[in-house]
């Protein structure tokens, strides 16, 4: 048909799996927000004895990639342990879907974030998390692996787009290797802010473009 999506993406987009809400979930999370664009909600039920995800559902306010990724990761996570589910990556989901266009990485990674956050919510509610970790440059760098480079479909760390990161008294400054008027400069900036601003001890995020 000439669409940029694999047959499997189209199939999951047309007939999404595990859609809906779980009443009384053991963990739930929302990633993205209507203000920024796409948004997903993920709900999980966990068997306490085996730490296995027995049920998982998602809702999507997003594009085709977002809906398809939500479907595939819920199928991948169901029946697995919490620890196993945590290690599902965007790449795993993309491979399972027969590939995703690079420019769509941004929309689909939200579903993975949703799953991980729902698991974290479960762990927090059940007293399974350690102390909150202070945000350092290393922590920011790790988090930036969730920001996708729309030119390649790989994250901005792996594609060497981040020149430098500094963290000082709650102010995070990130230097991006792009010119300010680059086609994707604004989209990447918004994405970085969306990922870093909610971190618990971050007050302000400043994105600089350097080349």
């Amino acid at each position: 048909m000439g669409l940029p999506y694999s047959e499997k993406v189209i199939e999951y987009f047309k007939n999404p799996k595990n859609v809906g809400k779980i009443e009384d979930p053991d963990g739930k999370a929302q990633e993205g927000s209507p203000a920024c664009g796409d948004m997903v909600k993920v709900y999980i039920k966990v068997d306490q004895d085996t730490q296995t995800i027995t049920d998982i559902k998602f809702e999507s306010y997003g594009c085709a990639s977002n809906i398809a990724t939500g479907s595939i990761i819920t199928e991948m996570a169901k029946g697995r342990t919490v620890e196993e589910a945590k290690s599902i990556t965007w790449q795993d989901a993309a491979d399972e879907l027969g590939g995703l266009p690079p420019i769509k990485a941004h929309c689909s990674v939200l579903a993975i974030d949703g799953l991980r956050s729902a698991i974290r919510d479960y762990e927090e509610r059940h007293g399974l998390v350690k102390e909150k970790e202070p945000t350092t440059a290393e922590v920011v760098e790790k988090r930036l692996k969730r920001v996708m480079n729309p030119m390649t479909g790989l994250d901005v760390i792996r594609t060497d787009l981040i020149h430098d990161i500094s963290v000082e008294e709650g102010v995070v400054e990130i230097y991006v290797d792009l010119t300010e008027d680059h086609q994707f400069a604004n989209a990447i900036k918004e994405d970085i802010k969306e990922k870093i601003e909610p971190m618990w001890d971050v007050e302000k995020v400043v994105v600089h473009f350097v080349e």
């Binding site: 669409l3 189209i10 987009f13 047309k14 999404p16 859609v19 809906g20 809400k21 929302q30 209507p34 203000a35 920024c36 664009g37 796409d38 948004m39 997903v40 909600k41 809702e59 999507s60 306010y61 997003g62 594009c63 085709a64 990639s65 977002n66 809906i67 420019i103 769509k104 941004h106 929309c107 729309p150 008027d181 086609q183 994707f184 604004n186 989209a187």
Partner: protein
């Protein structure tokens, strides 16, 4: 699912060529293919020049202009580039544009700004109209050019173009308007509306791609942006696209008032049916002062690319202002410019009509989008409380 057919409702992006335009162009590919030359050149060149001159005259007449004020270009983008960059680089000074201009004007202005020119951006109200009082206040002693579109490419809002042009004329400032989407759909006479530069294009009215024109009022200093020979009154170099020019002229002749009325009726049918039959929908742009061929509606709680993809699978071509659909991953600057938020841009869909649109098409599209939006809302976390 309603039975599948093919319905094209993205005429604001590109239109289907009218066969009669093709017929008019054909001799200029196979018989009269020479370069346009003066009477001192060869006879085939003279024949080609007659075609070019005839086309230029038709376009000039439509605008109440003289033929030597029409400069052929490769389309709207080039026309607007020439208008802004050509005037500013010839005369220097301050430029004013509106916040919701189409990309050729917007990006030309940004490039000029980067190169040291001063540019002001006028806000628009929630329907997309520029307040003439705002324009008056923004014009300075060193303002050389104002560029405000005649109608918006996405939300269809029409500006009070006469008032805006009059203000500029009073203050002795040049006025450019991008009339790509209004040309032939509304009368435009430069003797009534004192515009100095006007961008127009053939592809918006079932003419060929790759041909447009810039009206340049006699005597205006403008610097050529495309180097070549001395073609187009030394305002645009390069071999003339004569088949294109002839096709453009033919396309102009084919647009009638009846057609514009008929299209407007279809537009109203889309707007009325959608707003009445689908809950949580918002019309973007003005209800009355809007292009006859444009309807733009936000379907709340769902995302635009999901809608367009589902519609595509049902044979329908429409477009959206959602960030997911755009080449820069940014939400429509037009929807944001009218005070909309990301959410409003996210679920916006543009339906743009043309000569080949029918009432059946409209009903097919509305029936299908109703189903699509309903399905997408079932999986959306929003709008359920």
């Amino acid at each position: 699912m309603v039975s599948r057919k093919k319905v094209y409702m993205d005429n604001a992006s590109s239109t289907r060529l009218d066969e009669r335009v093709m017929e008019a162009m054909e001799p200029y590919f196979f018989d009269k293919y020479a370069v346009a030359t003066s009477e001192f050149g060869h006879s085939m060149g003279v024949e080609a020049k007659e075609g070019l001159d005839g086309a230029r005259k038709t376009i000039a007449n439509k605008l109440g202009a003289s033929p030597q004020e029409i400069v052929f270009t490769s389309g709207s983008a080039e026309s607007s580039n020439l208008a802004l960059k050509g005037v500013l680089s010839a005369q220097g000074g301050h430029l004013i544009i509106s916040d919701i201009e189409d990309f050729p004007v917007l990006h030309s202005a940004r490039t000029l700004e980067k190169n040291g020119y001063d540019v002001s951006y006028l806000p628009v109200d929630h329907e997309g109209s520029v307040d003439p009082e705002d324009l008056k206040k923004e014009i300075r002693d060193d303002t050389v050019l104002v560029s405000i579109q005649h109608a918006n490419q996405e939300i269809g809002t029409i500006q009070d173009i006469k008032k805006l042009a009059d203000i500029c004329a009073d203050k002795g400032v040049l006025f450019h308007t991008d009339a790509t989407h209004t040309f032939t759909r509304f009368p435009f006479d430069v003797n009534e509306i004192p515009a100095d530069l006007i961008t127009i294009s053939a592809n918006a009215i079932h003419g060929p791609k790759g041909i447009g024109a810039l009206y340049v009022r006699e005597g205006i200093k403008i610097k050529k942006q495309m180097e070549g020979g001395f073609q187009e009154f030394d305002k645009r170099g390069g071999l003339e696209n004569i088949p294109g020019a002839v096709g453009f002229a033919k396309a102009i002749e084919l647009v009638t008032e009846d057609e514009n009325d008929r299209i407007k009726g279809l537009r109203d049918r889309i707007i009325d049916r959608v707003l009445k039959e689908i809950p949580d929908t918002t019309l973007n742009g003005a209800r009355e002062e809007r292009l006859p061929q444009n309807a733009n509606i936000t379907f709340h709680y769902v995302e635009g690319e999901s809608i367009t993809l589902h519609m595509d699978m049902r044979g329908v071509s429409v477009s959206t202002g959602s960030a997911c659909f755009s080449r820069s991953l940014e939400a429509s600057h037009v929807i944001m410019g009218i005070g909309g938020d990301h959410e409003r841009a996210h679920g916006s869909v543009r339906f743009s009509l043309g000569r080949y649109s029918t009432k059946e098409d409209v009903d097919y599209v509305v029936d299908n989008i109703k189903e699509v939006v309903e399905r997408l809302r079932e999986i959306s976390p929003l709008g359920k409380e």
